[in-house]
């Protein structure tokens, strides 16, 4: 620490740069959370460790911890497998296809997680589209159990997490020099080999930040496993919610939240120690790429044993010489289009339900009606909630991405140890169950007299949005080529000019991505809104949740349809604006 403080002027500026965001986190996250955690040691006015003893000795709680980590782990890997071709196709395809994929991937975010989960129940159920078409084609004779078991849960969680992964991967693929692959191919590597040995290792930073992001966010899953799972294995967050929401047992809820936080921090520390230890930013990227390269190369060598006899067999045969072409871009693109369509499908169904209402869960194509839209647009609380959600999400996006950008820029000037520590401080909001944070935030804002204000929601959402936006910005800063900045410096550019004309333009695309993630985090939040929303400050997800939970209000479908329509229009407009400005430049 002393070494850290005895640094030059530039470094002192860094400390100042980091102080603002840290103060924000301290005031609006750590202090209120500490108040809540303090409760976990008190039961009936007496200091006790009973809650912890119970949590660590009962099979119920231990099973919940096991399932929570299992769920997060497999969700992260499945999301990577599904997301990789999608991000690849996005980075290689033309603007139109990219727009199509982007729309498909982003759309699910615009409707309540509860609505999405119910849509999957309809698709995967006994009489759902999947089972009925497979039975119609006589592929199966009785319906498969695709939902209310782990299969259903993972379909749901991967669906929710895919946009995060794709955006992370896309950010690292975007800047890859594709001529390297061509070079590898000219040197005789097949398409698969050049893809695996040259391309994939370069995307390592995106893979790592994507896996981490998805893993950590997945620890907080609540609604998705509750609706799509069998309810036989509760996650930790479900238990926290039950202790807090049904039994009003705050101490146990606080104890479980602290244990989840502690376990995750330990995992995070272990990860840092073994994967990232001792690398500075550019090295880090290189080290990840090299270790991934080694892994792939080992597999490749293993496959060599099979390849050699195959080649011999092939050369023995005169006549038609075929050569396996590997994953042609068009093949991956095809997979990506398929995945994108599947991702958008449940939302398409919800939109159709809004236009063709029917009393059961089916869509009645003979009954076109705008009745539900009328109900939605004519009720002030729905319209207000929608507009308010937009306002809150926009301001959250700005605030969170500025904080992340500043922090990410500051972090790279620090030694690896301090950097890791600061990263953990910034990422912690992600692993605290949002319900626990919601309660803590309520107490804080009550003390500040800000209860029921839009400002309290913006601050609360910014805390939630800092970790995901931070991961994106840190990855972006890491992949920054510092030589460009050094060059500017050597040419006499002042630090501000350097920042303004070199660093920020280089980071701009990723800053947009991080703002988008911040926007979506806010727009999708329910847990914090459950506590901070009031008559003066409502949000749409809270409105949708209330309606779904107690009434299955048809307006939910109409609201979803309106938002989906809005997203498509907004993305199309962005696309048109960008292509117009590009033609102007050229």
């Amino acid at each position: 620490m002393t070494r850290f403080l005895m640094v030059g002027r530039r470094e002192r500026a860094v400390v100042l740069l980091l102080a603002g965001p840290l103060l924000f986190l301290l005031c609006f996250f750590y202090i209120p959370l500490a108040q809540t955690l303090w409760m976990s040691f008190w039961e009936r006015g007496v200091f006790t460790l009973d809650n912890y003893q119970q949590a660590l000795s009962s099979a119920l709680y231990l099973n919940a911890f096991a399932w929570t980590f299992e769920l997060a782990f497999f969700t992260a890997f499945l999301t990577l497998i599904v997301g990789y071709p999608v991000a690849y196709a996005m980075s290689t395809s033309g603007p139109r296809l990219r727009l199509f994929i982007l729309i498909c991937i982003i759309i699910p975010f615009w409707t309540s997680a509860l609505v999405r989960a119910f849509a999957w129940v309809g698709i995967l159920g006994r009489e759902g589209i999947v089972n009925s078409s497979l039975m119609y084609l006589s592929i199966i004779s009785s319906p498969m159990q695709l939902v209310f078991n782990p299969t259903g849960v993972f379909i749901g969680t991967v669906h929710v997490m895919l946009p995060y992964m794709v955006l992370c991967l896309y950010s690292s693929m975007h800047s890859i020099d594709r001529s390297l692959i061509r070079a590898a191919e000219t040197l005789g590597a097949g398409r698969i080999r050049s893809f695996l040995l040259v391309y994939v290792p370069q995307t390592a930073p995106g893979i790592i930040s994507g896996l981490l992001l998805v893993f950590i966010v997945s620890l907080g899953f609540f609604i998705t496993p509750a609706v799509l799972g069998s309810n036989q294995r509760p996650t930790v967050v479900v238990l926290v919610e039950r202790h807090m929401g049904v039994l009003l047992d705050w101490s146990m809820a606080a104890a479980l939240s602290s244990l989840l936080l502690a376990t995750t921090l330990v995992l995070f520390a272990v990860f840092n120690r073994y994967v990232r230890a001792g690398h500075s930013a550019p090295e880090l990227q290189g080290a990840e790429a090299i270790s991934l390269y080694r892994m792939v190369a080992k597999i490749d060598r293993g496959l060599g044993a099979i390849r050699a006899p195959l080649r011999r067999w092939r050369s023995d045969r005169p006549g038609r010489r075929w050569r396996f072409r590997g994953p042609a871009p068009s093949f991956l693109t095809l997979i990506a289009i398929l995945i994108s369509a599947i991702v958008a499908f449940p939302i398409l169904l919800i939109v159709l339900v809004a236009f063709f209402p029917s009393t059961s869960n089916t869509i009645d194509f003979s009954n076109f009606s705008l009745e539900w839209f009328e109900l939605y647009f004519t009720r002030a609380e729905w319209v207000d909630a929608t507009l308010n959600s937009f306002r809150i999400a926009l301001l959250t996006a700005v605030l969170a991405s500025v904080i992340s950008l500043v922090t990410a820029l500051g972090l790279r000037r620090l030694s690896p140890g301090i950097r890791t520590a600061l990263m953990s401080i910034n990422l912690a909001p992600m692993i605290v169950p949002a319900v626990a944070y919601g309660v803590s935030a309520y107490f804080l804002f009550a003390q500040l007299g800000l209860i029921g204000t839009t400002l309290s929601l913006i601050i609360g959402h910014t805390i939630l949005a800092i970790p995901p936006t931070m991961l994106v910005m840190v990855a972006a800063v890491q992949s920054l080529d510092e030589r460009l900045e050094d060059a500017a410096a050597s040419l006499g550019a002042s630090p501000w000019r350097r920042l303004r004309y070199v660093t920020l333009p280089l980071l701009a695309p990723m800053a947009v991505v991080s703002a988008l993630i911040g926007f979506l985090t806010s727009f999708d939040d329910l847990a914090v809104a459950l506590f901070l929303a009031s008559s003066r400050a409502k949000t749409l997800p809270k409105q949708m949740y209330d309606s779904m939970l107690h009434d299955s209000d048809p307006r939910v479908a109409a609201a979803s349809a309106v938002l989906v329509g809005f997203t498509i229009v907004a993305l199309l407009a962005m696309h048109l604006l960008r292509s117009r400005s590009r033609t102007k430049i050229s």
Binding site: E43, G125, N231, T359, S360, Q447, I451, L549, H550, D551
Partner: protein, 367 residues
């Protein structure tokens, strides 16, 4: 827990919390209030009907506006009360919640002297609680897929629901954290007579649940979720709240599922007022207005899924709504009225039966 809650919160909020605790009906009865009342609601169809049949006439008569605020979670109510930031005058709560919140000193007691005389006697049994007044009776019962089981050849009792050889197909029941849970149904299925349900034989209930568990596709935790399981064909027989199905059928829509009213289970739902609510007098005026027999019936006639809580409303109830009304005795012969008193009983360590059953459930379900 309650002493602890107060001491911790006093630390947090200082004098404000103390004032809130000391505030009593005697104090607020003297104060004048602005003409508003804050209603915690989930919105939707029920609120629209309430507005049309109760709130709008109430505003016309008294000038007091009923403003909707978001429906609060119990944890939020506790947070509001202990920080003295109550932004709510009343909301609809379950009997168990009246018990939990009342015990924690989070609800204002109802001042029956501000309501019309004779109301306590007019209310049905268990509807006049210290911290809540019963405003409707709602119920849950057996529901079954209309396309799989023809009427007449459908499950007619909880024993039939448990009989998977006679009525094959996946089942769905609620999670016991829900207001009307599977425990009573399990006992009825096992042959316990309705008037012998309480005190609940927990071992017997779980033994009965063991038999049906392999056939349960899912224990639902919210009623739309349970309804979704039925309408999507994922479950063919189950239990659900009857409200929405009744209203759909009343409006001539076909949800694809039918109700068997035999052995339906009913509960009272209450209006409660959080401690230090801003407009307690207005709340009592609204309560009084709503519990006028004609006004009570006006709401129930427009929303036929619910039953009345005051007996004097009977003459005003629209007879065409009776076939589906949950607590009309001639239509639902074996209605089982559930009682929260047993669930709220506490053992020496201060744990309620509700908590203990839920904990046992959590380990039972995972095995």
């Amino acid at each position: 827990m309650s002493e602890y809650t107060i001491s911790r919160r006093t630390l947090l909020t200082g004098a404000a919390a103390t004032t809130a605790v000391l505030a009593s009906s005697a104090v607020w009865a003297q104060q004048s209030e602005e003409p508003v009342i804050l209603y915690g609601t989930t919105g939707g169809i029920v609120e629209e009907v309430q507005r049309r049949t109760i709130f709008d006439p109430f505003t016309a008569a008294t000038g007091i506006k009923v403003v909707s605020v978001p429906y609060p979670k119990l944890a939020k109510v506790e947070a509001m009360v202990s920080t003295n930031t109550v932004d709510l005058d009343f909301w609809e709560i379950d009997g168990k919640e009246v018990g939990i919140l009342g015990r924690r000193n989070l609800l204002e007691p109802i001042d029956y002297s501000l309501l019309r005389s004779g109301l306590r006697e007019d209310l049905i049994p268990n509807a006049a609680l210290d911290h809540g007044v019963g405003t409707i009776v709602w119920g849950a019962g057996i529901v079954y897929s209309a396309s799989t089981f023809k009427e007449g050849a459908h499950p007619r009792s909880w024993a039939d629901v448990w009989d998977v050889s006679k009525f094959p197909g996946p089942r769905t029941l609620p999670d016991p954290a829900y207001h009307i849970g599977p425990i009573e149904a399990a006992l009825l299925a096992d042959g316990v007579p309705a008037d012998k349900l309480y005190p609940i034989d927990v071992d017997r209930a779980f033994a009965s649940l063991d038999k049906i568990k392999p056939h349960i596709v899912k224990f639902w935790s919210t009623s739309p979720e349970g309804l979704n399981l039925m309408t999507s064909g994922n479950a063919l027989v189950g239990m659900n709240t009857l409200g929405r199905v009744i209203v759909m059928k009343h409006e001539g829509k076909d949800p694809g599922i039918n109700i068997e009213f035999n052995q339906a289970m009913a509960k009272i739902s209450y209006w409660g007022m959080p401690k230090s609510a801003p407009h307690p007098k207005n709340f009592h005026r609204l309560l009084d207005f709503y519990l006028e027999p004609k006004n009570h019936a006006a709401f129930l006639n427009a929303y036929p899924a619910y039953g009345m809580t005051i007996t004097s409303a009977q003459p005003y109830i629209d007879p065409t709504t009776l076939p589906n009304r949950i607590n009309s005795p001639e239509k639902v012969p074996n209605l089982v009225m559930l009682n929260d008193a047993w669930w709220m009983e506490e053992d020496n360590s201060g744990r309620s039966n509700f908590e203990r059953v839920n904990e046992r459930w959590a380990s039972w379900i995972g095995n």
